[in-house]
Symmetry: C2
Subunit: 343 residues, 2 copies
């Protein structure tokens, strides 16, 4: 039995559910994989907790569910202690970086957390898009230099292993074109609009379902889809794509009437992200709402589904999708990544 000493930074929706998973799946992971996943440190916006003997993940999850902070954990909580200090001082093998995405703030604090953990020789697992979008190559180079692994399967399309399929199962191929519907929120809202709901009703429903962030513009303006596309193009096409090179249109200019009319013609609006390899070797990237014909693989995605298509030279066209009724699969990508590192 190997013990893996974990740090978890960020205890929002994903971090909290990951604690639930650690509690729920711990015995099974020990039995099936011979790995004891020991959460030794955790941090949220109010402070951190560190216990070399291991924190109780169920207790951390319950505390967060009740609106508390790990900083208040008796004996081990340290109010005001920043996550960076935890990463700098803890004895750990692996950092799970699940702090919120802040593309406009230079992907901080996530980017600094990841850099620091890599420099300290920790593996890093993250569903946080920001650092990968802004510093894909730098972070990969750092990980390689340190001989550690950087995994980020959860950054694209929630629990869909889009990155893994693209990197591992397409080895030897040239990927000519990627098409993806990687954002759940916009798909959800577009479906409701096509059902005849107003924009206001659709947004309210999305907010009540927890699929709309407090600041909805990140999703609705296509930034989230563009960020995911940039990661896919870097990771799968091996091209140094940048966010500013994505031709990006959000869904806010669409009317419910557009949506209803499209459906009557057998078409389905999706916020489609595409990447095309051009003859000069560069890659053209676009995010825009597109009325897909009914026989397009991505047209039929349900309300809480995301998908990706890889058009290749030797593996035909590979298509994958996920139905994700709750954020649990997104949180579980951290478990997938960890188990892949220690396979």
């Amino acid at each position: 039995m190997d013990t893996i000493r974990l740090l978890l930074v960020g205890l929002g929706n994903l971090g909290r559910r990951f604690c639930d998973l650690l509690a729920q799946k711990g015995p099974e992971v020990e039995a099936r994989y011979g790995l004891r996943l020991l959460l030794v440190g955790a941090a949220d916006s109010r402070g951190a907790a560190y216990d070399p003997g291991g924190l109780d993940p169920a207790r951390v999850a319950a505390l967060k569910e009740a609106g508390g902070s790990v900083a208040d954990l008796p004996g081990v909580g340290r109010p005001g202690w920043p996550a960076a200090e935890l990463i700098a001082q803890a004895d750990a093998h692996l950092l799970c970086e699940a702090s919120p995405v802040h593309l406009r703030q230079g992907a901080e604090p996530g980017l600094s957390h990841i850099r620091l953990a890599l420099e300290r020789g920790m593996h890093v697992v993250t569903p946080n898009k920001g650092p990968l979008v802004l510093a894909y190559q730098e972070l990969h180079d750092r990980a390689a230099r340190q001989g550690v692994q950087l995994r980020f399967d959860g950054t694209v399309a929630g629990g869909l292993p889009a990155i893994y399929i693209g990197q591992r199962d397409l080895r030897g191929a040239i990927v000519h074109r990627i098409e993806a519907v990687p954002n759940l929120c916009t798909g959800y809202i577009l479906e409701l609009l096509a059902d005849g709901l107003s924009w206001e009703e659709a947004q309210d429903r999305a907010r009540a379902e927890g699929v709309l962030e407090a600041d909805p513009s990140f999703d609705l303006e296509g930034w989230d889809a563009a960020a995911k596309l940039v990661i896919l193009v870097n990771g799968v096409m091996g091209y140094p794509a940048r966010l500013e090179d994505v031709d990006r249109t959000g869904i806010t200019a669409l009317s419910g009437a557009d949506m209803v009319a499209a459906r009557q013609e057998g078409r389905f609006y999706k916020l489609l992200a595409t990447a095309d390899r051009l003859p000069d070797g560069s890659v053209a990237m676009r995010v825009a709402p597109v009325p897909l014909p009914g026989d397009h693989f991505l047209a039929r995605l349900g309300r809480k589904q995301m998908g990706v298509m890889y058009h290749t030279d030797i593996y035909g066209t590979l298509m994958a999708a996920i139905d994700e009724p709750t954020p649990l699969p997104s949180a579980a990508t951290m478990l997938r990544d960890i188990l892949d590192i220690y396979r």
Copy 2:
């Protein structure tokens, strides 16, 4: 640059195309992965050829395309030499076993080839279902004992990485249910029947397209789908499924009228393979034609598409499909497997 010395047994549709791939992709594989894939031996039904310095894969492919045998290759061909002798005597790192599937003959000669290669310490890569269906656990145990890899991604649903997704991307999960449309031929014929063609016309078209084998009963009676289901259940659910435990119904009793009527109701017949984990831990397996509702992921598969769905506890429902206009992706699974072994 590492040189990987390959043997290829079986030079039918897949083996020949794999030779094409070696010729076409060789320089790229060297540049991207630092691997030189050197075909040192090949065997077909009429004999074998062995050259420690390497056979020319383009020449082997051209020879087979023209109806010849590797046994006739000047200087290196050995007419009448059985593949087993090649495997027993060659100096090689890896066997690609692509001989025809003969489930009714105890999966021979493929099974013996694989056993022999594993015992000689070679890795084995195979799209041949027979040996995996009949001896899944035995072959895995042999490979583990020898410290070598056994890969068989091409056994299920052609170029779709169904096994890889199920084994690697679902780590930590319980797979409650698998649904798959893993056979291309039956999907192709059912689509033509729904378009109004007669059984005879549909079979003729399928034969002309090369998707119907000389003995079509293996596909049409559901044996192929059942065999693939058995491999999926062993590989992904970790349950020792056997072919005789599959409740199997083929498509031959269906009429074109059934198909047309179903489509008018918005339903789509597919030869569906399902596996359900039962409360006692066992797995119930079934292969049967099912009129799927239009919103079922597998209902909309096109004529040359196959797909799989994994219903899991923590990763939601994962769905994957492939559009495979030619057998190239099926042949390319051997390249995928090799590059995964030497990643």
